[in-house]
């Protein structure tokens, strides 16, 4: 009833496999995870290693480039390829952390709001409305402006901004499921409130939560990169992809590789997670309409 059986996973996997875009997303995500995990060993240089002899070297296939720096170097001689690899670690960590925080907090709030109803419910939902109405980046910027720039504060800000989505999903699931007979039955048999919430109700909103989390990863990476670009997120010399673009404007004329590659990394990663999330949603959809 509340838990999924092996056969339902098998049918989900068949549906998922058929979606070529989703598979592409999955493999890309796995590749990025591998690169991120192996970055300290894969990267040819340290991410913060500067070498003023080779600053602004073009990529290897252009004249002036060398095989020592495949994708070129930036203004103070740091190897871009190595920075991108270490940046993958950073971006994935940011994404996972933000989603983890907002899922846990969002589920807790949503479960409580849907279960307790009354004033608490109303206050929570109005707060979520305010967060949703405010333009997301604006709210994140304001939060970071208060707390001070930095990676951790940026992650917190983004987590708060995406919180309402998880609260709504969980709350809606609680409201729907609380009426169902098996909940009444469990209650009659003496199950405590907490057990009811965690064991009976929560698994039923697993599917939309999973989809939202996967899409939320891409949003988190994008928003964190935007904050980094504005100088409010990860601070230099951290090799966060958005931060790498912060100073790139002045090099648009003479060093196109400094501008292109970090953004390309963001695009590919976000696209991969979006493909994955879309594929998950399409494959889980028939399950949602039980």
């Amino acid at each position: 009833m509340a838990t999924s059986t092996p056969s339902s996973f098998a049918s989900f996997w068949t549906a998922f496999r058929r979606n070529r875009g989703a598979l592409l997303g999955l493999w890309t995500v796995l590749a990025i995870v591998c690169i991120a995990a192996m970055a300290p060993w894969l990267a040819p240089y340290g991410p913060t290693l500067t070498d003023n002899q080779v600053f602004l070297t073009p990529p290897a296939w252009q004249s002036g480039g060398s095989a020592a720096h495949w994708l070129g170097t930036d203004a103070i001689g740091r190897d871009i390829l190595s920075r991108l690899m270490h940046g993958a670690r950073l971006s994935l960590t940011i994404g996972v952390a933000v989603v983890a925080i907002s899922v846990v907090l969002g589920c807790a709030l949503g479960l409580a709001a849907g279960y307790l109803r009354g004033v608490f419910d109303m206050v929570v939902m109005r707060c979520m409305d305010v967060i949703l109405t405010l333009p997301s980046l604006l709210l994140a910027i304001v939060i970071v402006a208060i707390l001070g720039p930095g990676l951790v504060n940026a992650m917190l800000a983004v987590a708060i901004v995406v919180l309402p989505h998880y609260v709504r999903i969980t709350r809606a699931a609680v409201l729907a499921e609380a009426q169902r007979d098996f909940v009444t039955a469990a209650r009659l048999s003496g199950a405590g409130h907490l057990r009811l919430m965690l064991v009976e109700i929560l698994p039923n909103c697993a599917a939309p939560l999973i989809v939202q989390a996967s899409l939320g990863l891409s949003t988190a990476i994008l928003d964190a990169a935007a904050l980094g670009f504005l100088g409010l997120g990860a601070q230099p010399p951290l090799p966060e992809w958005g931060t790498m673009l912060a100073d790139a404007r002045e090099f648009v004329l003479r060093a196109w590789w400094v501008v292109t590659f970090p953004g390309l990394a963001i695009l590919v990663t976000v696209l991969a997670f979006n493909l994955l999330g879309d594929g998950l949603r399409d494959a889980l959809d028939p399950k949602l309409k039980r």
């Binding site: 707060c127 409305d129 405010l134 953004g263």
Partner: protein, 334 residues
């Protein structure tokens, strides 16, 4: 119908209070002394400190302070910028038209390209057009705006020299602002080439800001159309012998537009978010750039006022969208 209107307007009240509360507490959440935060000064001596405490009303109970703040907001008084000493509201009103012009053009761009793309993808389902268009849409949706802008500048302004790099209009022109919309003002002015210059400056920022909404509109239109095309009344329209374009463009699209319109309205918040980044890249003199500069300069009244105003505008647009939805949907209308 009126019951629907009043219920919807009623929801505005708690959201309004929520936003003003957030803005109100903003200053007090900044680490350090709120007086120093508000005055923008450091190391204020005790006498001046007490003066400022009274001037800012910080010696009153919290609830009274909030009441005074709400009253001020309703009057349009949002404090003064620490840096320029000009009223926040005045600065906002001077810069807002630039942002609106950009946002409107971006939305128009998104609709003019997105709706036909979505319709085409739905009608030619699973074809090469469908996969191609939706792939492009997903890419546009995943694109970091700031990078996209830089890339386009690299390509069109630097390499090809087709478009200008920044600003709203070439420096040579000075147009007296009357509507605040440079396209209109420059067209009305006598200066030769001003309109074209304004238009040329709008091209890249519009594309950059409009890419994300374009993707959303295209995807939304496609899924709405697919659903509508499977409905019984579309079958009836075909059974009447209507030509295919009429079945799609009139019978199907009319009903598919309903969910798309609500999505459009909700894009306003996204547009403001994107505007912050776009204006930074293109040095577009709108409220986005204004807010970013305020952060660097610790101009908290500007941040507080700007956030509140943008939030209230988004809220107003959401209400308008909901009411329009009620108008379009005949079930609610009657």
């Amino acid at each position: 119908m009126w019951r629907f209107v009043f219920t919807r307007l009623g929801l505005v009240v708690p959201t309004f209070f929520g936003m003003t509360l957030l803005a109100f507490f903003l200053i007090r959440l900044v680490p350090g002394d709120p007086i120093e935060t508000l005055a923008g000064e450091r190391g204020i001596d005790a006498v001046r400190h007490a003066q400022l405490l009274h001037a800012y009303g910080l010696d009153q109970p919290l609830l009274t302070q909030y009441g005074i703040y709400i009253a001020k907001v309703l009057r349009g008084d949002l404090g003064k910028s620490i840096i320029t000493q000009a009223p926040v509201m005045q600065e906002f009103l001077a810069l807002f038209p630039a942002t609106v012009e950009l946002a409107l053009c971006a939305m128009l761009f998104a609709l003019l390209l997105g709706i036909p793309a979505g319709v085409l993808a739905a009608v030619k389902r699973n074809s090469v057009y469908d996969h191609g268009l939706m792939g492009a849409a997903l890419t546009g949706y995943s694109m970091p705006i700031f990078w996209w802008g830089l890339l386009l500048i690299l390509l069109f302004s630097v390499q090809l020299g087709w478009t200008p790099v920044s600003g709203r209009i070439a420096v040579a022109y000075f147009i007296e602002p009357s509507t605040g919309f440079l396209l209109i003002d420059s067209a009305l002015s006598d200066e030769k080439g001003a309109f074209l210059s304004a238009l040329g400056h709008l091209v890249l920022p519009t594309i950059v800001l409009g890419t994300n909404p374009l993707a959303v509109v295209a995807r939304m239109t496609r899924s709405a159309m697919l659903e509508v095309l499977g409905e019984d009344y579309v079958r009836t329209a075909r059974a009447k012998g209507l030509p295919p374009w009429r079945v799609v463009a009139i019978h199907a699209l009319r009903n598919a537009m309903v969910p798309v319109v609500t999505v459009i309205g909700l894009q306003v918040g996204v547009l403001f978010t994107g505007a912050i980044l776009t204006e930074t890249i293109f040095s577009w003199p709108g409220v986005g750039k204004w807010l970013i500069e305020a952060i660097a300069r610790r101009d908290y009244p500007v941040l507080q006022g700007g956030m509140l105003l943008l939030g209230l505008i988004v809220m107003a647009v959401n209400v308008l969208v909901d009411l329009t939805y009620g108008l379009i949907n005949p079930r609610i209308r009657s």
